[in-house]
């Protein structure tokens, strides 16, 4: 397993190195001012802390004015915003995570207050105010006395109660760590065949936001494409000529001439004037027949829907118009 860690480290090194090694011909180097604007983090050893100082006693009125309304005058508040107390509860059923019980470095507290607090006006505190409030919050957890003065040199030296409490022996901390979940794949009683149990209508996603071609944004790539759901074509009465092709009537019967069976118009001519012609031919169509036009039999066509059969016969008797 250590190999994969090593490999990851090498990859990281290569990735960082390649930024300088390869010029993509775009952009420009960041100016020192731009880097300073982004480089705002404060590290456990104090790197990144600005000059300044403040005492816990100075922090008290600031804390009362800006912090106490949420965190409580003594940092007691509720489970979510308490910042004092809870020492020793981290492994209990109801862990209370506070500055005193969880935080491993005091510099993190300074960084967090400076960047994120007060909640309604983050970054509004000066460096000195942040040192003072940090000192007071540490005092609420009995980590520093009320007269303690913290600055960029003394803050990193504050020893937090939970300094040694963090572990990397878990899945996120190390590739060798114990993961939170055990991925035991279920490979029994598997379904043999895939069945689609339900699906969305065909145009459901396309028309989710209406017809995009009606959208007024002219730059949108979809602006020329209508996404209106394609409605199934209304059942148009199929023309008898098409029906005759569909059911392969025209394979044996020409319109005018005999192919294998008699031509449509020949049939019309033969039965012209017979009142029962339609019923007779319908019966022949369903049952099949032979002899009237030659020895080649006409196979039964009962599979053709009755309505279509009727349409076809009427069309033939009318002389198979185009």
């Amino acid at each position: 397993m250590w190999k994969s860690e090593l490999a990851a480290a090498i990859l990281l090194t290569l990735a960082v190195g390649s930024v300088h090694a390869k010029d993509y011909g775009i952009g420009r180097p960041a100016t020192p001012g731009e880097i300073a604007a982004w480089d705002t983090d404060v590290r456990p050893d104090g790197l990144g802390l600005p000059k300044g100082k403040g005492s816990a006693a100075e922090g008290e009125p600031l804390y009362e004015a800006q912090c106490a309304s949420c965190h409580g005058s003594f940092g007691e508040s509720n489970d979510y915003m308490a910042i004092a107390g809870g020492v020793g509860t981290l492994k209990s059923d109801a862990p209370l995570r506070t500055v005193g019980s969880k935080l491993d470095y005091a510099t993190t507290l300074w960084d967090y207050i400076q960047r994120a607090m007060p909640f309604t006006a983050p970054k509004s505190l000066t460096a000195d105010q942040t040192y003072a409030i940090t000192a007071y919050v540490l005092h609420l957890s009995n980590i520093v006395p009320l007269d303690a003065v913290l600055d960029q040199n003394t803050l990193p030296q504050v020893k937090m109660p939970n300094r040694e409490g963090f572990t990397l022996k878990h899945g996120l901390g190390s590739v060798k760590g114990k993961p939170d979940v055990q991925n035991t794949a279920c490979m029994k009683d598997c379904e043999k065949t895939v069945k689609v149990r339900s699906e969305l209508p065909a145009d459901f996603t396309a028309s989710m936001y209406g017809d995009l071609s009606q959208d007024f944004r002219s730059i949108a790539t979809m602006s020329k494409v209508s996404t209106t759901p394609t409605k199934p074509a209304a059942a148009v009465a199929a023309s008898p000529a098409k029906l005759s092709a569909q059911y392969a009537c025209s394979a044996c019967h020409g319109i005018a001439n005999k192919v294998v069976g008699p031509g449509m118009r020949e049939i019309a001519a033969k039965y012209k004037g017979h009142a029962d012609a339609e019923a007779k031919l319908l019966a022949k169509l369903a049952a099949g027949g032979a002899g009237a036009w030659g020895s080649v039999p006409m196979p039964p066509q009962a599979h053709v829907p009755e309505a279509d059969r009727k349409t076809l016969i009427q069309w033939i008797l009318a002389g198979a118009p185009d």
Partner: protein
């Protein structure tokens, strides 16, 4: 013996504002533990605050008050530097007194 109270007293206008955080389990006597037996009631039933020998606040509390109770009150007739003392007594007879100077 329980943990000390946190007391802060400060002059606000012509009055003194006192804030107290007491460390107490405040068991109501209605909760059950993991094996279903009732956790015995254990709560503060009397709080007394005094300043310069005079009682400025006396309260009878019951099981409805939360764990680690927070109490804030104001009184007049004291100046900066005077000592405020707060005493609680619970239903088991335990008691604790802490004091702080008015800032």
């Amino acid at each position: 013996m329980s943990d000390p109270m946190r007391i802060r007293a400060s002059v606000v206008g012509d009055k003194v504002e006192v804030k107290v955080l007491m460390a107490h389990p405040m068991e109501s006597g209605l909760r059950k533990n993991a094996d279903g037996s009732i956790i015995p009631a254990h709560f503060i039933d009397r709080v007394v605050a005094s300043c310069k020998g005079k009682t400025v606040l006396a309260a009878d509390w019951g099981p409805a008050v939360s764990k680690n109770p927070y109490l804030s009150f104001r009184f007049s007739g004291a100046a900066k530097g005077d000592m405020v003392s707060v005493t609680w007594t619970d239903n088991k007879g335990d008691t604790r007194t802490d004091e702080a100077a008015i800032a």
